[in-house]
């Protein structure tokens, strides 16, 4: 192993060095989307106010993991690991009552973010000690976890209910705390070991588990504590070495910890050990084990479908999404499809982003097979972390589900986000079946433009959304200003399948042809007068639902983007360097009757 791959700066064994070492591993892990996906690592917050601590989240547990450096001497650093259950976590019933009560307090999660600053937090919620023994001269590293299968505390005299006399919350001699610390440790351990294996490109040279019986604790009604013999809980020590096999080093670390405890090595063939043989970070003598999985750089991108009616704010959401992901150094691919036979939304994006536009009609009616080829085109250059499929404003997502499910070999379908223009929702719901289908198919509903409504109107829209889709989470925004991670968190894995099931009840999904919606594109040869154009827009009949495009106004240095939705419109200045053909796309019902209006410009 080459330790400098994990930490290239000079390491002097001080507290600060150990903190930097841990910070470096966590930072690099954050850049590694493959590692995140394999280990379910969902993010970390670094707190440096007061004592430095890291709080992390993993897919498999709803609570927050806390990590802090406790001491460092002679090349050995001890980190303490905590688990703070979320208030709704089922694990909370296995924590002690005191810990459960702390988790119910209003500012609990906020305090967790800087838990070392609160003594009660620091002394409770502990699950494991992580010891790192680092030797840069020998290029060797030992990782040792100390934990327990069960952390048990008995209440000798029970705990009485404060509400009902003679009723016990905990009966005498029963358990106040029965935390499966080892089980909770597993996602962290899997992550941390995988990170080291992957970042240093070295599997561990040895892996051993030791066990010993563990005594439980019992308190009485006066608060006296005593040890209690217990058959079930075990202390566990899990030790990995990287670099040269380091039996001596491991023994030196274990000795003070296991003193007087009669610790025994768990043999390789035994169940617990063989369970770990399947861990992705462990490569034993057999080449077929999972370590090569960690060497893999290719993972399927996730596919997020963005639906939403005309003018609801899909392109704005796309922009927010791109900027957020770009700042996180992640790569987004975009597949757009535009009913107006012209890649307008591509031009509306500030970013010349990796994009495939599918102009020939609408994905929902005629493009079966084209989505696959679009995604293939996109992935030819590089595999994005996320692909966003922006559907046309009049697409019915139900029609897409079949094809999306067939893309399983290429992408992981994450879900459907439907953007809803709050100010137009009630109108559109009466006029357009497709609009209602978009709401029903959504995993997440992004209720946008809420600033245009008063409370009463907003309630009406929210009620309407609830009636049409009880499963989807509703997130309210202005200008689609939302952190994409918040969207993804809201998407359940199974919700898209649920929508698929719903589809089976529908005889014939509606598409926009049945709604009589069509579009017309008009090229603009000459610059327009701004005031005349405003007047023109305000006179458009209601069956023209949406107008968008790029125009040049007289005597203005830059072109303007026109956004018209149902009577409301805005003009946005383009940047100087952006100069494209001027055009307008009209979308609405019965456009063929409107030739005189369209030709007026």
């Amino acid at each position: 192993m080459n330790l400098s791959q994990l930490y290239p700066a000079s390491f002097d064994g001080s507290m600060n060095s150990f903190k930097s070492f841990m910070r470096a591993i966590l930072t690099k892990s954050s850049y590694d989307s493959t590692l995140k996906k394999i280990t379910g690592f969902k993010g970390v917050f670094l707190n440096q106010q007061g004592n430095e601590c890291w709080t992390l989240k993993f897919e498999s547990f709803p609570g927050i993991f806390g990590l802090i450096l406790g001491e460092a001497k002679e090349g050995v650093g001890k980190f303490y690991l905590y688990y703070f259950p979320s208030p709704e976590d089922s694990m909370i019933e296995r924590h002690s009552l005191i810990e459960g009560a702390m988790a119910q307090e209003g500012d609990y999660i906020k305090k967790v973010r800087s838990f070392p600053n609160f003594p009660m937090f620091l002394s409770h919620f502990y699950i494991s000690t992580l010891t790192l023994s680092i030797d840069f001269l020998e290029n060797s590293l030992i990782v040792l976890y100390e934990t327990a299968t069960r952390d048990r505390i008995y209440a000798k005299d029970g705990v009485k209910s404060p509400f009902k006399q003679d009723e016990f919350i905990i009966k005498p001699d029963e358990l106040d705390k029965d935390l499966p610390s080892f089980r909770i440790l597993l996602p962290f351990m899997n992550f941390f070991n995988s990170a080291i294996t992957r970042l240093s490109n070295t599997p561990p040279s040895s892996f051993q588990i030791y066990k010993a019986n563990k005594k439980s604790i019992m308190y009485d009604k006066f608060g006296n504590m005593e040890e209690k013999k217990d058959l079930i809980p075990l202390n566990l020590w899990l030790a990995l070495s990287y670099g040269k096999e380091n039996e001596n080093g491991i023994e030196t670390l274990l000795k003070p910890l296991t003193k007087g405890k009669n610790a025994q090595k768990i043999h390789e063939k035994m169940s617990l050990s063989s369970f770990f043989q399947k861990a992705p970070w462990l490569c034993t003598k057999h080449e077929t084990f999972n370590y090569p999985l960690l060497k893999k750089d290719y993972l399927k991108p996730r596919l997020v479908v963005i639906a939403g009616f005309l003018g609801s704010g899909k392109t704005t959401l796309l922009q927010q999404y791109i900027e957020h992901e770009t700042k996180k150094n992640r790569f987004i691919g975009i597949v757009q499809n535009e009913i107006g036979k012209v890649g307008l939304d591509g031009k509306l994006l500030d970013y010349n982003y990796s994009m495939v536009e599918m102009d020939e009609g609408c994905v929902c009616c005629s493009l079966s097979g084209q989505l696959r080829s679009g995604i293939n085109t996109l992935m030819k250059k590089a595999v994005p972390d996320t692909i966003l499929l922006e559907t046309t404003g009049v697409a019915n997502p139900f029609n897409l589900l079949q094809e999306l499910n067939e893309l399983d070999d290429l992408v992981d379908l994450e879900g459907i986000i439907t953007v809803v223009d709050a100010s137009n929702a009630m109108y559109a719901s009466k006029e357009f079946t497709v609009f209602n289908n978009q709401i029903r198919a959504a995993d997440v509903l992004l209720l946008n433009k809420i600033d245009l409504l008063d409370n009463e109107e907003l309630e009406e829209v929210e009620l309407f959304l609830k009636e049409n889709n009880r499963c989807a989470k509703v997130l309210k925004t202005v200008g689609c200003d939302i952190n994409p991670n918040l969207l993804l968190q809201s998407i359940g894995d199974t919700t898209a399948q649920m929508a698929s099931l719903l589809l089976e009840d529908e005889d014939s999904p509606t598409n926009h042809i049945q709604d009589g919606i069509s579009s017309v594109k008009i090229n603009m040869q000459k610059p327009l007068k701004r005031s005349e154009f405003k007047e023109y827009l305000s006179m458009l009949p209601p069956n023209i639902y949406r107008v968008k495009g790029i125009v040049q106004f007289e005597n203005e240095p830059t072109q303007s983007i026109v956004q018209y939705v149902h009577g409301e419109y805005e003009f946005l200045n383009q940047y100087e360097e952006q100069n494209s053909e001027a055009f307008l796309v009209y979308i609405g019902k019965k456009l063929e009757d409107l030739k005189p209006i369209l030709n007026k410009l």
Binding site: P8, Y31, L97, G100, I169, Y351, K381, A382, E576
Partner: protein, 387 residues
């Protein structure tokens, strides 16, 4: 646990527990035991050290457009195998060897142009264009920092030297940096970090001043150190270790030991204490994260009015993804520092800068010239004076 007892516990937790207070818990017979009771964490006091003061700081944005197309850049990174791949392997300019993406090496790349550095950069760039992946996408980051001392004396420093020889030479000429270098007006070239877009344009500076003093943060890899030699640097090279390093009274650098994408380690940022105003922070990319950047200054530096006065450069919120997306937001995290002047660009994000404006933050708007993307950025060729 029996079902009944489980229910009691759930009801208790759901119920009035918050109203009970921990005092009453003991009267119910509930106590807490913890193996961590004796944990002792050393306290780190705020040590604010005095590093003097300056009258004003002027920053000229020579170029903030490090590359022109995000998709191309990210596509190259992903195509080469991810964010942790060594930047010298990409086959990006100027180290292209004609073998294509992710197959390059420093040695083979530099061999093609070394004989032309640092004086014959146009010829060198022609060769680079032939052999590199997406040479047209390269731009660069560089800024001129002018310190005005309390006695009125002025000193100039160059922060970073960009990426593309062609683009940077043009930008240097546009802002008159070439002349300043030739006349020896610039005290030192400070490289914020080893990234391609801040460092690889080094020969453009050396073409005009090969013996200029150079300051780099600790953590440069051997290729980077070799490139300094191969580019024809003949002056003094100073390596700033982790932590604070003074440059002039009232003007210091701070090295953060942070891992950065493309296998780079360590970033250096600049601080100036402007008399009567407060602290001015100048950063390249701020990969250490704005929160760590600013809280370090707060903990370790003493500055006028205890006030975060201004900030210039690219702002990264954090190298991490926060597990709570609510907090994962630059607009929110900037709020508590209460800056008087914000001049941002480069990696800040145009939409984010626009959100700053909407949130009423004191963002200095730029002129959006020379390929800078937005007025919300202090763009290429723009200047700002703090103090």
């Amino acid at each position: 646990m029996q079902a009944e007892q489980k229910n009691n516990r759930r009801d208790f937790l759901k119920g009035a527990v918050t109203g009970l207070g921990f005092g009453t818990l003991a009267t119910m017979g509930m106590f807490s035991y913890s193996p961590m009771r004796s944990i002792f964490l050393p306290q780190t006091p705020r040590e604010m050290s005095d590093f003097g003061a300056v009258k004003s700081v002027k920053v000229t944005n020579i170029s903030e457009t490090s590359w022109f197309d995000n998709a191309t850049l990210m596509g190259d990174m992903k195509g080469a195998g991810g964010l942790l791949v060594n930047q010298y392997l990409y086959n990006w300019p100027p180290f292209g060897d004609g073998t294509g993406l992710a197959k390059g090496s420093y040695e083979r790349g530099i061999a093609k142009i070394k004989h032309l550095l640092p004086n014959r950069l146009e010829e060198a760039w022609d060769i680079v264009k032939e052999n590199s992946v997406n040479p047209q996408n390269a731009g660069g980051f560089a800024a001129l920092v002018e310190i005005e001392h309390l006695d009125g004396q002025k000193k100039k420093y160059l922060l970073d030297s960009g990426w593309s020889y062609e683009w940077m030479d043009e930008a240097f000429k546009r802002e008159g940096i070439d002349k300043m270098l030739q006349n020896g007006e610039i005290e030192a070239l400070i490289i914020s970090h080893e990234h391609f877009d801040h460092f690889w344009g080094l020969p453009v500076t050396l073409k005009y001043a090969p013996n200029i003093k150079m300051i780099i943060p600790d953590g440069f890899y051997k290729e980077g150190l070799q490139y300094i030699k191969d580019s024809g640097h003949t002056g003094e090279l100073i390596v700033h270790k982790k932590g604070r390093n003074d440059i002039e009274p009232g003007f210091c650098a701070y090295t953060f030991d942070v891992p950065i994408i493309c296998r780079v380690f360590g970033e250096l940022s600049l601080f100036a204490n402007v008399e009567g105003k407060g602290l001015v922070s100048i950063t390249g990319c701020c990969h250490q994260g704005i929160i760590q950047f600013i809280s370090t200054a707060k903990d370790e530096l003493k500055y006028d009015n205890d006030k975060m006065y201004g900030i210039y450069g690219g702002l990264h919120i954090s190298p991490f993804d926060d597990w709570d997306p609510k907090y994962d937001d630059l607009v929110i995290s900037m709020e508590k520092w209460d800056f008087s002047v914000i001049a941002c660009n480069h990696c800040t994000g145009v939409l984010t800068a626009e959100k700053f404006l909407r949130a009423g933050y004191p963002v200095v708007e730029g002129t959006a010239r020379h390929r800078s993307k937005s007025h919300a950025y202090l763009g290429n060729g723009d200047q700002i004076t703090f103090g």
